[in-house]
Amino acid sequence: MPQSHEPNLNPDLKKTYDAIVVGSGAAGGMAAHVLTSHGLDVLLLEAGKKLPIERELKSMQWPYDHPRRGDMPRDDHALTLNEYTIRPRPYAQGLRYKHVYSYVQGWSGADYSKNIVVDEKDNPYTGEPYAWVRARTLGGKTAIWGRLALRLSDVDFKAAERDGFGEVWPISYKDIEPYYDRVDDYLGISGLKEGLPYLPDSRFQRPNKLTISEMMFRDKLKPMGRLITPYRAGVTTDGLKHNKYRSKCFGRGACSRRAGGCDIHAAFDSPTGLIYPAMDTGHLTLRTNATVSEVTVDSKTGKASGVSFIDSETGKTYQAKAKTVVLGASTLESARLLLLSKSRQYPNGLANSSGHVGHNFCEHIMGPGVTGIAKDRIGKPKTLDDGRPGGFYLPRFRNLDSKQAGFIRGYGFEGGAGSSMFPHHAYQTPGFGKDFKQTVREKQGAFMSMGAFGEVLPRYENYVDIDPDIKDRWGVPALRFHIKFGDNELNMAKDMADQAREMFEQAGIEVLNVDREVLTPGWSIHELGTSRMGTDPKKSVLNEFQQSHDVKNLFIVDGSSHVSASCQNPTWTIMALAWRSCDHLADQLKKGEL
């Protein structure tokens, strides 16, 4: 008999759980899945609510069926790019709006995501400009993620050996490969095998097809030694026999026109992919509305004893006990939690004898990109082009075989071509009247765009700490940002824009616009690296199993552990690493070594 998947707001807090998992996104969900599969008794704590997500997303709603065509209500406000750059932090301070939300993609602050992303008024932060998108709800950011599911390779894990910057990872591709395979098989991934050593293939289900102009682009890029491949999507295109909560993809194409999200769960999300099946084992207790404010420590053993959490509705504080504590609260929230968990034994925060917690922050720089018109598609009969979870991915081509002047590491592009529901090129089509209208119509199926994601180097000077004054709605001190792009990133961004133009021109695509502007740090929502792994406890926070060097029964399984960002999107790597570490945790716990 399947259990109810409703959260338990009154869990047994007298008992000692085998593990407490903090956060229910990709990392926390995976931890809950793997640990319960080993028969461990797990308490999963999520700061947000469980939303009726299918109703929330309204995936198939037409814009004209929404009273404000998808916009948020009058008293609500989504922070824009401009505001992230110019407004003093905390961003919401002084704004008249009832609610102010972290930016999330979609038409100028979509009504569909406002209950998923946090209200900035409740969740302030300070310091340098930073676009911090947080989703406090069951499933975290997997409720609206972009679905691009890529592997890292030894080009990434051993990047420091190649160019001398930073540290090598304590693992290599062969260590993580079996876990990538497991994630692929358990959650489903769509893509086309290409055999690239720097972007390893996954165990793909049926690929998403390319449009005619994408096929043309692929062909024209070949002489440049470059490639576009169908979007590698964390989406099950063939279905998953072992998971009854997720449908296969029906190519409805609603995935990217709003905030993201998939109401039939063909796109991976943590609740249906990981948490509900874990609940069905009978070993998982889910407590939502539980904002963890501290990891508690046993003063005799120095080990983690559990956590303190605040009920986000009532404000009441609770203690929960466990043999092990697993953090999956996100790169920045996990760092905040460690820095807040100060004690006589750990005066600099928990797991922080190295002083590296909060440091070596890295992510992806984005903004530069190109839009254009594939001329031979102008005026052709309309076809269904966007009925798929994504368009194409153009993998990294810089600093592989040869050395690029001006910057180390690389970048890739995400893009797509063909008709979409809204004709974005209309804004760039000059004039008005009959000619204007006809041009928009004829060029609709010929539109093509792509934007780059580039590796931001992990530098010790890029860090977060705790603000001495500002607290959130629950009285928990806020995070303060000390994060700026350096020359490597800015030189790379110039090259992104130049190469975007060059590739379109080479392919005979009429360039409409080249975007050279770099977006505010954080915009990629790929934050990583604040508790990096390593073999040297003086220079790293975690070992290769994401286990604290200082506190043996504490694991941090989210993006915090990444040693460098690479330029590939991190979600699949977060889950493969979490699986590997939780296997290790279960094994060690059974052997009595934790």
């Binding site: 404000r68 998403n208 009925g387 798929r388």
Partner: protein
């Protein structure tokens, strides 16, 4: 095809009813009746009816702009639009077309107030028209947002393209 035509009749008939209502002073939330009438004409000049599909009037773009401005939280958005609209309100359609043509001259880099207003109303019109039923289905023939069964759209590279 038949269904499409029936829909077209329904939509245009509905639009006529709505337009009749829209001309009553009480229906608008922000515009005065005179302003609404001017916006209605201007949006139709920007995206007119043609042989393929009805234009901005039938798609009720002026109503969209009215409710958008009524709902916008910043007073400056309303005052900017109202100020920019002023020269068009008591003008004939021929005069409006002349003003619009002049204001559209440097739309890539608008500097004067009338050039900025042209960008503004053009962007609102694009947004309102292409998120409407007429814009999405009749003008652009959008095929997506539907459950696909069987073969999916698109192509895969063959061995020769590898």
């Amino acid at each position: 095809m038949d269904i499409g035509r029936r829909d077209l009749i329904k939509i245009t008939a509905g639009a006529a009813v709505a337009m009749a209502a829209g001309s009553a002073a009480t229906a608008n939330r922000f515009f005065t009746p005179e302003e609404f009438a001017a916006v209605n004409e201007l949006t139709e000049m920007i995206i007119p009816a043609d042989e393929k599909s009805p234009g901005a009037k039938a798609a009720m773009v002026a109503g969209f702009i009215d409710s958008y401005l009524a709902d916008s939280f910043e007073e400056v958005e309303r005052t900017d639009f109202r100020e920019g609209l002023r020269p068009y309100v008591n003008a004939t359609n021929l005069e409006r077309l002349g003003l619009l043509t002049k204001a559209a001259q440097s739309e890539a880099k608008p500097t004067t107030a009338d050039q900025k207003f042209f960008r503004l109303i053009k962007e609102y019109t694009i947004r309102g028209y292409y998120t409407s039923k007429i814009g999405i289905h009749q003008d652009l023939d959008y095929k997506g947002n539907t459950y696909q069964t069987g073969e999916y759209a698109g192509y895969l590279p063959g061995p020769d393209l590898k």
